[in-house]
Symmetry: D2
Amino acid sequence: MAGVFTVTRVLRFADCDPAGIAFYPRLLEHVNNLVEDWFAGPLECSFHDLHFKRNKGLPTVTVNVNFLRPAELGDEIDWSLSVKALNRSSMTLSVRAKRPDGEELLHAEPTLVHSDFTRDPPRSEPFPDELREKIETYQDPQ
Amino acid sequence: MAGVFTVTRVLRFADCDPAGIAFYPRLLEHVNNLVEDWFAGPLECSFHDLHFKRNKGLPTVTVNVNFLRPAELGDEIDWSLSVKALNRSSMTLSVRAKRPDGEELLHAEPTLVHSDFTRDPPRSEPFPDELREKIETYQDPQ
Amino acid sequence: MAGVFTVTRVLRFADCDPAGIAFYPRLLEHVNNLVEDWFAGPLECSFHDLHFKRNKGLPTVTVNVNFLRPAELGDEIDWSLSVKALNRSSMTLSVRAKRPDGEELLHAEPTLVHSDFTRDPPRSEPFPDELREKIETYQDPQ
Amino acid sequence: MAGVFTVTRVLRFADCDPAGIAFYPRLLEHVNNLVEDWFAGPLECSFHDLHFKRNKGLPTVTVNVNFLRPAELGDEIDWSLSVKALNRSSMTLSVRAKRPDGEELLHAEPTLVHSDFTRDPPRSEPFPDELREKIETYQDPQ
């Protein structure tokens, strides 16, 4: 059974624009925050360790986003993540943002590449086995 | 002949992450800045007027981005924009970021909807004719 | 006895700069987030209601900050707030950020003015009584 | 005679908050951008070289800011900088933001410390002579 990683966050003043709704680049910051929390939590590999101890990183190489409905200041948003595709050194995630009333706000599919940052430019590198095994438990069965 | 709107900007410290490269949500902020400059410049409709005088806005409803190569602190980046598709109240843009050596950094296709912000949620509304005519001159002939 | 409002937050990748430490304008965003949480929580006046229902706001008119030690990616930070001075329509807060080991990272004193945003520019306006009474319970006795 | 370093920038949509005015942490990002432009320009020491070639940095250790009037979306802002105090390894800058009509928006005094980032935490280090000589030409005579 596929795991789904979920966190809840209130949409902040700092995330909103003069139109009073979420500024979309800030919603993508939330997508990145969600991945960061997933790594620091169940994947047991904080971004601090990933970048500064392992000299690796996870650059996003593509992202496709549908903004389904404007997110508003103060909205309590459920962010959820599962793994749509897992390859040797990359993965495509399925990220959804919902309000408590079930209204979907956003669906994003970022593709991230596990990379060696001792190279310039960074070079893709297979996920280490212990990390891959944890990622697999979030894989979408479709 | 299709026009292309172009601006050049240096990638800033504020745009970069602990990996020393552009933080991708900040690159999407640059995409938004490019649209803002296009509106304030050749389209003669500043975001100040659009939002506060006309009570309209341009929410992004989808965006697909390919990050082709990491952008680095201090990179001088040429941002260019043309119109891929123009509909009654929405348009899909083609945005490219290149370094001076011709290396492509990013290709983004955001779809923006001209919307009436006196409605909650904002409701799509056809582009006014004078704006549409100016937008058409940036349409990609493909 | 003076109340102190406290929240704990991990310093994120999005908050850090190419030097691998917190980018200082982002720490001020955290100061603003702390005030936002204080209002939405114990003061029972969310920024959504303040701005969109009451047409008020809290522009910061001065801020003095000492950055005592660099905050690092992944640091668990305790943010605390008390009221240093409360006037008719303004207040000066004392905000401190500490790591769990007690190391102080930051001390900020922002002064915020309760303002009527139906005026342009916004005009200062006394805090309403029920809000003032709640704010007083966070006043520093010194 | 003291030099003053000046750049002009339009206040962007991305800089503004739901109250329709500049979000103050973003104004401090502009202060940082101004220092970055000063270093890359007349001081001939880009932040890219400073951080990645020299392994130095310029953490801000204190900043005092007066926000004199709200900055609005689309405001053309003149940012200017001079050196208020120059010490062996630190300097205090005087930064002012004005609108074209002469209206002052902001006065900030950040103190920055030239630091060696090969140390953890970074350790202060005297400015190299060629950099100090260029900085001196921006020193305020008062």
